[in-house]
């Protein structure tokens, strides 16, 4: 067979056998529009990115982001500086990569994995290791839970995140400290931390067995009158597994406040 005929046959075969694959064109366009928030009136908006050392790599703005009814104010909650610059964006995914590769050290071994952007209902974003965890809503709270069903021998493994609009971190930390003392054998003093978040920590442990309950409560200012409360629950033997993974995920926590224009 002549070469030019082979070439023609290959091209014809590729074209003929992929006819009809474009049926989803308008559905896909609608998805793209929604994700990029293109359905809004276009207007010029000046974007001032947050200067936060823990912020996921942000996309350089060209100043042509489209506006939405709600503008997001991104507040960096990490680092020693309290940069309160504001960024008005039409869609969080304009600013944060939907997925990224990270290297975590788990039980002494480096693990490379893909983490996925999640927008919490309480006004924040976080990157989740979806290979091991998923985010659910329970009793009005965002809860990051282990993907596998654990049998009854294992205590709760989860990380819940909520916002308390009207209480300062110090007040909430004192409340948790008091409450945990009623149920946990050992409750550490309230400590100020800068890792994985900048805030207060109340930690407690209920014994020294493999399955003894461990809880860590991080309280972060919401940059106004309130606080974010992040509670990690796991068991002693899982400190370097689940405990370490929760810490890695929490490093990516970032407050996002939605203001109506």
């Amino acid at each position: 067979m002549e070469d030019k005929n082979v070439d023609r046959e290959i091209t014809a075969s590729l074209l003929n056998n992929t006819d009809g694959v474009s049926r989803e064109k308008e559905d896909i366009w609608n998805q793209i529009e929604t994700k990029l928030a293109l359905k809004t009136v276009e207007k010029e908006m000046k974007v001032t990115p947050m200067n936060s050392r823990k912020t996921p790599k942000q996309r350089k703005s060209k100043g042509w982001l489209t506006g939405t009814i709600a503008a997001a104010v991104l507040l960096g909650v990490f680092g020693t500086t309290t940069d309160t610059g504001q960024a008005f964006v039409s869609n969080l995914r304009e600013y944060f990569a939907p997925e990224k590769q990270v290297v975590e050290e788990i039980e002494g071994m480096p693990e490379e994995k893909e983490v996925v952007l999640k927008e919490g209902t309480a006004g924040y974003i976080i990157y989740i290791d979806e290979e091991n965890y998923r985010m659910i809503q329970e009793n009005g709270l965002d809860k990051i839970v282990f993907n596998q069903e654990l049998d009854e021998r294992y205590p709760d493994v989860s990380m819940t995140i909520k916002q308390v609009a009207d209480k300062a971190p110090e007040e909430i930390a004192a409340e948790y400290h008091r409450e945990l003392q009623e149920t946990f054998a050992t409750v550490e003093e309230i400590t100020k931390v800068t890792e994985p978040v900048d805030g207060l920590l109340v930690s407690a442990i209920d014994g020294h067995e493999w399955n003894s309950l461990v809880t860590k409560v991080y309280i972060v200012s919401n940059e106004k009158e309130g606080s974010f409360v992040i509670q990690q629950n796991y068991f002693l033997e899982a400190s370097e597994g689940h405990g370490a993974r929760f810490q890695h995920m929490l490093k990516e926590f970032q407050i996002v406040e939605i203001d109506a224009e």
């Binding site: 290959i10 992929t18 694959v21 896909i28 293109l38 997925e99």
Partner: protein, 176 residues
């Protein structure tokens, strides 16, 4: 002239034009879908996801595009990365039916029912350059740039892929 057209559209997108982005979508969607469908082979159901994510990334990263270079290779580089990312994500899940199909595809080329199946049966590293050349009309050097491979490697992969398809066509011709 198509490159100029692309450049004009890109410039308008960079200036915030939604209608220009839609124009780009109309220009590129069909062949992007065709390409993703062939490249993703048995994961073709996810071709739409790859194309959708590609356009989102193009829109979000349009400021990174260097206007002194042709747009089309840049677009296809993003598309293939998305295809690979989704394939990698789904690589842990393989059904029994797929294993049977894989076994069937590994058998002699003469057993294929038509040329498209022969193309689908090529190794991914042979199939993707074939798609870029015959469906998208890229030159060998452009394919090497898109796939970030050495030009000779691409030449070799195209040659091997094409040889297999030629053998298949000749066998089919003889049989008829």
């Amino acid at each position: 002239m198509e490159v100029l057209n692309d450049q004009e559209i890109i410039k308008q997108i960079q200036n915030g034009s939604k209608s220009a982005f839609r124009e780009l979508y109309d220009l590129y969607f069909d062949y992007a879908m065709r390409s993703a469908t062939v490249v993703m082979n048995r994961n073709a159901a996810h071709a739409g996801d790859a194309v959708q994510e590609t356009f989102i990334r193009v829109y979000q990263n349009i400021h990174l595009y260097q206007s002194d270079r042709p747009f089309k290779p840049w677009f296809y580089k993003i598309l293939l990365n998305e295809c690979n990312r989704i394939l990698k994500k789904n690589s842990k899940v393989i059904s029994v039916a797929e294993i049977i199909e894989q076994t069937h595809n590994d058998q002699q080329l003469e057993e294929y029912e038509d040329l498209y199946q022969a193309i689908q049966a090529l190794e991914p590293h042979n199939r993707t350059p074939i798609v870029l050349k015959y469906l998208n009309g890229f030159k060998e050097q452009e394919i090497a740039d898109i796939l970030e491979e050495n030009l000779n490697t691409i030449k070799s992969r195209l040659f091997k892929g094409r040889q297999k398809l030629k053998t298949f066509l000749e066998a089919k011709e003889e049989a008829n």
